[in-house]
């Protein structure tokens, strides 16, 4: 195995309750996984709102330090605690797509200017025409064009246009790892499928590993190779995506699947919670338990 990314027993604790309080919140609790350079995959993270998905992504991107554990890229430490030059190297081969496109762009800078400076910096290209072609090529991949965004500020684009621009930006420097936090939450069904198909082609045709964070179980099923399901900082189930989503074993994974809204009875508001599963999930709350490995290689957290 040629390890592209190794996440080893990573923990993140935040101080909460003000500057002088020592109350701590464990946002990410002992997460480990490895991505193989020779076997690119779409590695999906699904989970509860507030379960630490974005924090984990930020640690992988070196934007947040780890409290314990380490993150290695091709064998070298790259987490926020690593030295600057290894991090700079790493930053060129891993690209983020941030969760909320409305927060991801500098509101005072025109989008095309931002893309131009990113391209020049990351690819070390000076020729304006060449830069423009690269930008336009990448915007075309997400159904946009240079002409559409030219001269515009972030607030002058729609939610979906912004989200797609963020994806195009991440593609500019041909990353070997893409960390995409909710990249299709604000686009219509048609664009969603074309972006998801694009992620697939990045994996299959360009050997890119993709960490795909989402709340959408259906697209997760459609494109993922492996999946981890998180709840309150802990991984509760991890392994091959389709077997897990077809037949989840952990009660929280089961609750997630049971809560997916259906369109079968459109117009009749089926919003009743799955109370039986919620009860089981609540009963286990606060326990850490242990991961057990199943025959199909998945790992499931179990409690005594």
């Amino acid at each position: 195995m040629n390890k592209l990314l190794e996440v080893k027993n990573v923990v993140k604790k935040f101080n909460t309750g003000g500057l002088f309080s020592n109350k701590k919140l464990t946002a990410v609790n002992d997460v480990s996984f490895t991505l193989d350079k020779n076997k690119p995959e779409i590695f999906t993270i699904i989970g509860e709102s507030g379960s630490g998905k974005t924090t984990l992504a930020r640690m992988i991107l070196g934007l947040e330090t780890t409290t314990h554990g380490e993150i290695l890229h091709e064998g070298k430490r790259v987490d926020g605690n690593a030295n600057r030059s290894t991090r700079m190297n790493f930053m060129r081969s891993v690209q983020p797509v941030f969760q909320n496109p409305f927060e991801a762009f500098n509101p005072l800078k025109k989008i095309d200017q931002y893309l131009v400076s990113t391209t020049k910096e990351l690819l070390q290209i000076e020729d304006d025409e060449e830069v423009k072609t690269i930008i336009d090529d990448n915007l075309q991949k997400v159904g946009l064009s240079h002409a559409e965004i030219m001269g515009r500020y972030p607030h002058e684009l729609s939610g979906g246009q912004l989200q797609r621009t963020a994806i195009a930006r991440a593609l500019i420097c041909n990353p070997s790892l893409l960390v995409a936090d909710e990249p299709v939450s604000m686009v219509d069904a048609s664009l969603k499928m074309s972006i998801v198909n694009l992620l697939q082609s990045l994996r299959d045709d360009f050997g890119v590993n993709v960490i795909y964070i989402t709340h959408d179980l259906a697209t997760a099923y459609y494109i993922s190779d492996r999946i981890i399901i998180m709840q309150k900082g802990l991984v509760v189930e991890m392994g091959p995506a389709r077997p897990i989503l077809d037949d989840p074993k952990h009660p929280y994974s089961q609750l997630l699947k049971a809560s997916v809204l259906s369109i079968a009875d459109a117009g009749n508001g089926q919003l009743a919670p799955a109370t039986d599963l919620i009860e089981i999930v609540n009963r286990n709350e606060g326990q850490i338990g242990k991961m057990r490995t199943y025959e199909d290689t998945r790992q499931v957290r179990e409690y005594s």
Binding site: E48, S49, F102, G143, D188, A189, S190, L261
Partner: protein, 335 residues
Amino acid sequence: MSDVLTVNKLKAYYIMNYFGTKREVRAVDNVSLTIRKNEIYGIAGESSSGKTSLIKVFAAAMRPPFEIVDGDIKFDFGDVKIDPYAEDKSKVDALRWSHFSYIMQGSMSVLNPVRKIGKTFEDFALKPMGVSKAAFKPLVIEHLEKLKLSPDILNSYPHELSGGMRQRVTIALATVCRPKFIIADEPTTALDVVVQKEVLSMIRGIQQEMGSSVVFVTHDMSVHANITDRIGIFYAGRLVEEGPTKLMFEQPKHPYTYHLVSSIPRIGDTQRRTSLEGKPPSLATPPNGCRFHPRCPIATDKCSQENPELIDIGQGRRVACFHSDKVKPLAEAIQ
């Protein structure tokens, strides 16, 4: 049933000047609709078809270069009737939060980054609620609980919360005063499906309890299926179909609606799905005739020349398509 909001032949464009040449983005192009008392009206449609622009008009949140070019809107809240664009701004602002509230897309911008969440609640909601500070806090905490948020978050700054937590805070802000008219733009995109369901059911609950009206914009058709009473579908700045939720899913009459409801991916589905052919139209230079014609599977010559009017087809439905009788029912396909 009485109408709370009446929108009449509304045209609202972004009108820009690039070095002397005028450029218009016709984001809202001749839209007429009404929102009734006691209903949830869903808005779906293509990305950049003008959904956010339209509800910015509703919420009196327009900023230059966005302007109303033609048509008008009127609110009738029962106790107050108002045309927000004919009236003094202060009069409109006095109704914000108490009569109508607006949850913006990616709405974190209402949250002041250097102010704790608890303070933000006081800034916006204390006055319209009309209670003392001491009575206010327990009410807020009770409300947060319904959104599965712990009271601790009142002491947090926005950046200390996850995306989904911030999104719920903005929903809490917009609903805590129980306004008569709630405008929500993609309010549940950052929520896991368990929390999303509870949040939707809270919104439904408040709406029913108060008999209020909600305009709910989202791309997530399964959300529309479960929370809305009626749905309006937008394509390239125009309302192309409208009707009761059940009928829109079972027998869409516009080819674009058909595409939307038939392309919803489901768990267990591994068949390669393709998207609509071609690119979304530009609103600066929209195609002639029916704006959907370059991508429509059943388009004819007429479609590329004439613009189909939105017409009443009975059962509370309106559709803008010359060949709506050729759109197949979907009832079987979505079982």
